[in-house]
Symmetry: C2
Subunit: 351 residues, 2 copies
């Protein structure tokens, strides 16, 4: 039985102390000293012993002292250990939580409104910033299409997809079309493609393009011309819903105005945040980025807790919360987890 400390391993006692320390620091926000820790840990060891162990923990990089004679504070690695050791720690209260969320999600919300509700729920219940990406609907079923002529060789296309979602796009076309031509065209589209997956529509139209175009009727030619821009990849104007940003103000060391400002600017520009969230979408379960683990400097002092939600077993989007590194992970993690499942369920039930 090798009692000699393995360089990267912690014995049970050290692990326990580390957990207690992180937990204590999270709740109090002050560096934790050996005396306090010895008392809190309920282990019947003296502060001196605790000091020795803390020294070890510091050597291993789990904790650090802000200065010579303050207590110790968890490092990112320390938080990481703490978080990883939280396995289904607080499943309590989830039932109540679930009810609360369900009651907020009324039936007649569209997807966007649903995301807003969920984001506000997350932010409200965690007192952090909530974030919900709109579902990346990969399977878009075309239901109906209408064309309306605008001035200047532009045509407004209205796509009704997936029962209730409506998309409007303006197409620049090479000549004027009158109403009757466009009606013919929309009839053609609706007859040929209604109920089909939008990707299929595109592929089909494009493959026909390979064939001899002269052999086709005029309508078909126009349809092909339009297909590219009509069914091409779309850019949502709003890709995620953020709520409760102001909860991040004045929390902890985020009082630092410059940091906060960077963060808020990032929220507005969205791109960096989206990159991070995109990475999460295909990961099962709750994912946690602590401090700069995310690889984005903006989140230096923050942690991001996310979970992807699924429709029909396929992950379609991400939700989560953003808060200071020193957040109540034991509470937040199950909340994010359950919320993702509820949102998935709601979206599923709509077929």
């Amino acid at each position: 039985m090798p009692k000699k400390k393995a360089d990267k391993e912690l014995n049970d006692r050290a692990q326990h102390l580390l957990k207690v320390l992180v937990s204590h620091y999270i709740s109090e926000g002050l560096p934790v000293g050996s005396k306090t820790l010895a008392k809190t840990a309920q282990m019947d060891v003296s502060p001196a012993t605790v000091r020795n162990i803390m020294h070890e923990l510091e050597d291993l990089g789990f904790i650090e002292s802000p200065h010579t004679s303050a207590g110790r504070v968890p490092t990112i690695q320390g938080y990481r250990f703490f978080v990883d050791s939280l396995v289904e720690s607080h499943p309590v209260g989830q039932k109540k939580l679930l009810d609360e969320l369900q009651s907020q999600l009324q039936d007649d919300l569209n997807t966007h409104e649903l995301a807003v509700s969920v984001s506000e729920f997350l932010s409200g219940v965690t007192k952090l910033a909530g974030i919900v990406t709109l579902p990346k609907v990969q399977k878009i079923t075309l239901r109906q299409i209408e064309f309306i002529p605008l001035s200047d060789r532009r045509v407004l296309a209205i796509l009704v997809t997936n029962d209730e979602e409506v998309q409007n796009r303006i197409l620049n076309v090479h000549r004027e079309f009158n109403i009757d031509e466009l009606r013919l065209l929309s009839n053609y589209f609706n007859e040929q493609f209604s109920g089909m997956d939008i990707m299929h529509v595109r592929e089909q139209l494009l493959s026909q393009m390979q064939d001899d175009r002269d052999g086709m009727n005029r309508l078909m030619n126009v349809a092909i011309d339009m297909a590219q821009s009509l069914f091409g990849p779309q850019s949502h104007e709003e890709d995620y819903i953020l709520a409760g940003q102001s909860n991040l103000m004045g929390t902890d060391r985020l009082t630092n105005v410059d940091k906060l400002r960077l963060l808020f600017d990032a929220f507005n520009q969205k791109q960096e945040i989206l990159n991070l969230l995109d990475h999460c979408v295909n990961t099962e379960g709750v994912q946690i980025f602590i401090g700069d683990e995310s690889g984005y400097r903006i989140f230096d002092e923050c942690s991001v807790v996310t979970s992807s939600y699924s429709i029909g077993g396929k992950p379609m989007g991400v939700l989560g919360v953003i808060g200071p590194t020193r957040m109540q992970y034991d509470r937040v993690i199950p909340i994010v987890d359950v919320t993702a499942k509820v949102l998935g369920a709601v979206l599923n039930s709509r077929g």
Copy 2:
């Protein structure tokens, strides 16, 4: 010639000193003392004289001292005087500004995108928060309408109005309609009402309701049923566009986290801000609220500079900036003014 000071009036010298004091405070951010003021004002008077006048100004409530021996700081009333005395002060640089703005406003922006651009322009050029309300289009011309059946006795109505704006509404109807019925209905609507003002459509339909319904055909009856919910007052989901909120962080005394937080919460809830902006919409020219003049506590430490913009001579919306009380009014006011005019012009040119 009454040289005795009228209780509420300031002689030229005092006015000048007040202006210089405010201006100096705005640029430096520090309380202004008598010596500094005497030097800056270029009036060839001694600091002692200046002190006497400052005392007067303090009695009249234009300035105040933060504590016994700091210089003086403008009160809200002082700012108000300063601002009111700025008549067309800095018309310079407007040409350049105008060009810059024009170049940013590309032709193919829809109204929403236009508002975003303008808001970002305002925030970028003033380094404050920019705000633009979406035009309150009172004259909505119906161009085309389509109905699409959804499940559960619901019908999706798509209204194309004013050439390019598209609105989607879900109607709860009393029975199922099939596609053909709905097509008949939309044909009826399009034939009868296309090109008409939407208010007229509603009135006309409602007035017909007074008549004997039994005497009408079935289609007409359905149309009347739908009219109420279809053409009723709508609620925009996004009523104004805010940009550069983060510019408000760390400015001056807004470092106060709680204040800032209140402000950001107000931005999110929108209602209070909208109330304020609504008051401005029917006012000609630039309007300025300094500190709590707006009547909203959230803006205690802020000033709001707005101007309404018009389409066809009728004010349709409001734009402006929000910043700390100590902002460069002489620069900001003409910017807001010109921007409103440009936006109006752009919207007008679209007919």
